[in-house]
C-alpha cells in the first residue's frame, strides 16, 4: 500500500510537471500579450516532431534534438506572431480564438503531410530508458529527471521575470502598454520575443514528452492543451506561480483519482476546477481584473 502511494505521488508529480511545461508558455503569453493561444498545443506537437526528426535524420543524440527541435518551432512561433497574431490584438477576442484555432487545424494537417498520418513511436532512450527501485517497484529514471526539470524551469522563469532587465520591461509593458511605449519600449518587438519564448516552452514540453508517452500523432497537442488550460484557469490566468501550483495539484490529484477513486477520476479535475472558480473566480493566484 505504501509502495503504491509513493508510486502514485511520483507518477502524479511527473504528470504535473509535463502539464506545467505546457501551461507555463500558455500562461506567459496570456499574462503579457493577453492572448489565449489555442495553437500552443500545436507548438507542443511540433516540438515533439522536430526533436524526433533531429534525432532520427541527423543522427544526433536526444539532447541535441531537445536543443535544436524547439528552436525550429520558435521560427514558426515568430512567423505566427509577427505576421498574423499581431494584427488581431486590437480587435475582439473571438477573432484571436478563431485565428489561433485555425492554426491548430493547419499545423495538424501540416504534420500529416510532412510526417504521415500514422503514429510515430520513437525507440526508447538508451541512456535514460532504465528504472530505479522505489520501495520494491520500478520507477523510470526519465520521469525523475522530469520531476527535477519542471521546478528548474519554474525557477529560471521566476528569475528571468523578477530579476532581469528584460523581465522588468515585460512586467511594465503588460501592466501598461501605452505608458511603456511612451517611454521608449518597443512593445511590438517585445511581444514577439515573449511569444517566441512561450512557444519555446511549449515545444520543449513536447520534446520532453516523447520518450515518456512513447508515441507522437498529429493531434497530440489537443489533449494536453485542455489540461494546460484547466491548470492555467485554476492557478489564475496569467499567473506563473498559479500555473505551477495548479499543475502539481492536477497531476497528483489525477494520479490518486485513477488509483484510489477510479469511478470519479475524470470528474475530480472538473469538480476541483468548478470549486476553485466558485471560491476564487480569478483562480488561486490570479489578480481580479
Amino acid at each position: 500500500m505504501l509502495q503504491s502511494v509513493v508510486q502514485v505521488i511520483l507518477a502524479g508529480l511527473s504528470t504535473g510537471m509535463f502539464i506545467w511545461l505546457v501551461a507555463s508558455g500558455l500562461t506567459l503569453i496570456f499574462g503579457v500579450l493577453g492572448v489565449l493561444n489555442f495553437a500552443h498545443g500545436s507548438f507542443y506537437m511540433l516540438g515533439a516532431y522536430f526533436c524526433f526528426t533531429v534525432l532520427k535524420y541527423m543522427g544526433a543524440n536526444f539532447w541535441l534534438g531537445l536543443i535544436l527541435g524547439p528552436l525550429c518551432v520558435c521560427v514558426i512561433g515568430f512567423i505566427v506572431e509577427r505576421f498574423f497574431l499581431r494584427y488581431v490584438y486590437h480587435i475582439a477576442l473571438p477573432y484571436q480564438l478563431l485565428l489561433t484555432f485555425a492554426f491548430v487545424l493547419i499545423f495538424d494537417n501540416l504534420v500529416k503531410i510532412v510526417w504521415g498520418a500514422g503514429s510515430i513511436s520513437p525507440p526508447a532512450l538508451a541512456a535514460l530508458g532504465g528504472s530505479v527501485d522505489v520501495l520494491g517497484r520500478k520507477f523510470p529514471i526519465y520521469n525523475i529527471l522530469i520531476i527535477v526539470v519542471g521546478p528548474l524551469v519554474a525557477l529560471a522563469l521566476w528569475g528571468m521575470i523578477e530579476k532581469t532587465w528584460w523581465g522588468r520591461i515585460i512586467r511594465a509593458s503588460s501592466s501598461d502598454r501605452e505608458m511603456a511605449s511612451a517611454i521608449g519600449v518597443r512593445v511590438p518587438a517585445l511581444f514577439t520575443s515573449v511569444f517566441v519564448f512561450g512557444t519555446w516552452l511549449g515545444a520543449l514540453g513536447g520534446g520532453l514528452a516523447v520518450p515518456y508517452v512513447g508515441i507522437m500523432t498529429s493531434g497530440m497537442g489537443e489533449t494536453i492543451i485542455i489540461e494546460a488550460f484547466i491548470v492555467a484557469v485554476i492557478g489564475g490566468l496569467g499567473s506563473l506561480k498559479g500555473a505551477f501550483v495548479g499543475a502539481l495539484v492536477i497531476g497528483v490529484l489525477t494520479a490518486f483519482g485513477t488509483r484510489f477513486f477510479p469511478t470519479f477520476d475524470m470528474f475530480l479535475t472538473f469538480i476541483l476546477m468548478a470549486g476553485i472558480l466558485l471560491w476564487r473566480p480569478q483562480g488561486l493566484f490570479g489578480v481580479a481584473r
Binding site: 510515430i120 513511436s121 517497484r137 523510470p140 515518456y212 508515441i215 500523432t217 489537443e222 477520476d265
Partner: protein
C-alpha cells in the same frame, strides 16, 4: 468514323450473338455471366461512400482504410468495373464523433448519390447510424466498429437490414480470448481497458465466458483509462497491487503502445506472466513497438497479414505492399473486402438496388484475403477465423510477429441468435 477491321467486327457480332442466344435459351440453360450479361441492367457508375477517421490521433487508421478500399477500386476498374460499370469512391473524415458519422452518411446518400456505404470506426458512431439506416436505405458495410449491439440489437432484433459487418466484433476480443485463457495456468485476471462502451463490454463478456469455461477464476482488479490517456502509471499500479496472474487489455492503437512501453518500464511483464491483447496484432502497434515489444504476449486482431498462409492472401499482401509500401493493417483488409463484397453482390443479383444487395449478401460466402467469410443471415455479421498467437521476433521483419498461434473456429464463440437464453452465449452446450 471509327475504324474497325474484320476480326474486330466478327468479335463484336459474336459477342452480341452470344448474349442474345443466352437470353433466348432462358435462365437455367445458360446463365450469362461476366460483363455482357449485366451491363444493360445497371446504370453506372456505382458509387461508394466511405467514412473513416482521417484527423486527430487516430488519423493513421483512416489512411489504412483508404489504402485498402482504394486498391480494390483500382483493381476492379482496371478489369472493367463491376458488371461493366465503373466504381467511384469518395472518402470522408468520420472524426470519431457520432454527429459527424450521421452528417457524412446523409451527405453521401442525399447529395452525392452513393449506392453503398462503408467504413465507420467507433462503436458509438455505428450505434448512432443504425437508427437512420432504414431511412437512408443503403447497405452500410461496417469495417471497424466492434460492438455486438450493432448486429444483435439493430439488425436481428429491430430488423435494420441495411447494416452488415465485415470484421470480427467483441465476440472475438472477449469470448475467443476466454477460450485461450482457459488453457493458461492463470486463475486471477485483471484489466486495464478503455473507459467507454467497447472496453466495458469486452471485459464483461470475457469474464462471463471465462467463468463458465474455468470455474474458480477470479477478477481482482480493473482500471479504466479514458480516451486520450498518455500516462498509465497509476493504472499499472492498480494492477500490480492486485498481483494477478493474467492481464487482459483492450487498449488499442497509440494508447496501447504508450501502455505497453510504460508497463514494461514499470516491470509489469516480469510480474504478470499471461497477457492478452485482443487488438495487439494491429500493424500500427507491432510496427510502433518494434523490437521493444515484449515476447510471449497473446495478441490478435481482425486480420493479421501472415494468416491464412495461402496463395490468395500472400498475393494480396504482395500487391498491397507494391502499391503502398506498407504491410496491410486489419482495416485495410476490411476496406478492400468491403468493395469486393459489393462487387460480388451486384454481379450475383444483377442490380445495385439496396433491396437486391441485402438479399444477396444475406448468407453469402465471400473469399477474401482473411479467408472465406460467411455473412450470417440473422444478424449480418461476417463469420471467419482469425488466430490468436504469441508475440515473437523474426529476422524477416523489423517488428514482432504472431508466433505460435491458435485458431478457434468462429462458429464456436460467436454468440448465436436469438442472443439470449440458454445456448445463445458460448460455451455452447450443443
Amino acid at each position: 468514323m471509327e475504324k474497325m477491321d474484320r476480326r474486330d467486327f466478327l468479335k463484336r457480332v459474336g459477342a452480341g450473338a452470344l448474349v442474345t442466344g443466352a437470353g433466348a435459351l432462358g435462365s437455367g440453360v445458360m446463365v450469362p455471366t461476366g460483363l455482357w450479361a449485366q451491363a444493360p441492367k445497371i446504370k453506372g457508375p456505382i458509387k461508394v461512400g466511405y467514412q473513416a477517421v482521417l484527423s486527430g490521433t487516430l488519423a493513421g487508421y483512416g489512411e489504412f482504410h483508404k489504402m485498402g478500399a482504394q486498391l480494390a477500386v483500382e483493381e476492379i476498374n482496371q478489369k472493367g468495373g463491376i458488371a461493366g460499370v465503373k466504381v467511384e469512391i469518395e472518402f470522408r473524415d468520420s472524426t470519431m464523433k457520432p454527429d459527424d458519422a450521421i452528417k457524412n452518411a446523409r451527405y453521401f446518400v442525399d447529395s452525392w448519390g452513393a449506392d453503398y456505404l462503408a467504413g465507420v470506426d467507433s462503436s458509438g458512431q455505428a450505434l448512432a447510424l443504425a437508427p437512420i439506416m432504414d431511412k437512408l436505405d443503403r447497405v452500410l458495410m461496417v469495417t471497424h466498429a466492434a460492438t455486438e449491439k450493432l448486429t444483435e440489437e439493430w439488425v436481428f432484433k429491430k430488423g435494420i437490414k441495411q447494416i452488415f459487418r465485415m470484421v470480427n466484433s467483441t465476440y472475438h476480443d472477449s469470448n475467443a480470448a476466454a477460450f485461450i485463457a482457459k488453457d493458461l495456468p492463470a486463475l486471477k485476471w485483471a484489466t486495464v481497458s478503455p473507459k467507454y462502451e467497447y472496453g466495458f463490454t469486452c471485459w464483461k463478456l470475457f469474464q462471463e465466458t471465462l467463468k463458465k469455461l474455468k470455474p474458480g477464476v477470479s477478477f481482482p482488479a480493473e482500471s479504466w483509462a479514458p480516451a486520450g490517456t498518455t500516462d498509465f502509471r497509476s493504472h499499472i499500479n492498480t494492477i500490480m497491487d492486485a498481483n494477478p496472474d493474467g492481464l487482459y487489455s483492450t487498449e488499442w492503437a497509440g494508447e496501447l503502445i504508450t501502455f505497453l512501453k510504460q508497463a514494461k518500464q514499470a516491470g509489469l511483464f516480469d510480474k504478470v506472466k499471461h497477457v492478452m491483447l485482443p487488438v495487439g496484432a494491429a500493424m500500427d502497434v507491432l510496427e510502433g513497438m518494434g523490437a521493444e515489444m515484449p515476447d510471449n504476449l497473446w495478441i490478435s486482431g481482425r486480420y493479421f497479414f501472415l494468416y491464412p498462409n495461402n496463395k490468395d492472401n500472400n498475393d494480396w499482401v504482395a500487391r498491397f505492399r507494391k502499391r503502398w509500401n506498407h504491410y496491410p493493417a486489419y482495416v485495410s483488409e476490411a476496406g478492400y473486402s468491403a468493395i469486393y463484397a459489393l462487387k460480388a453482390a451486384v454481379e450475383k443479383s444483377g442490380s445495385k438496388e439496396t433491396k437486391a444487395l441485402i438479399q444477396t449478401l444475406e448468407g453469402m460466402e465471400l473469399d477474401t484475403p482473411a479467408g472465406r467469410r460467411l455473412f450470417r443471415k440473422e444478424d449480418h455479421q461476417a463469420m471467419y477465423d482469425v488466430p490468436w498467437g504469441k508475440t515473437k521476433g523474426d529476422p524477416k521483419y523489423p517488428f514482432k510477429i504472431m508466433g505460435e498461434s491458435k485458431v478457434i473456429p468462429a462458429k464456436s464463440y460467436f454468440s448465436r441468435p436469438p442472443f439470449e437464453g440458454p445456448g445463445a452465449d458460448p460455451p455452447f452446450s450443443s
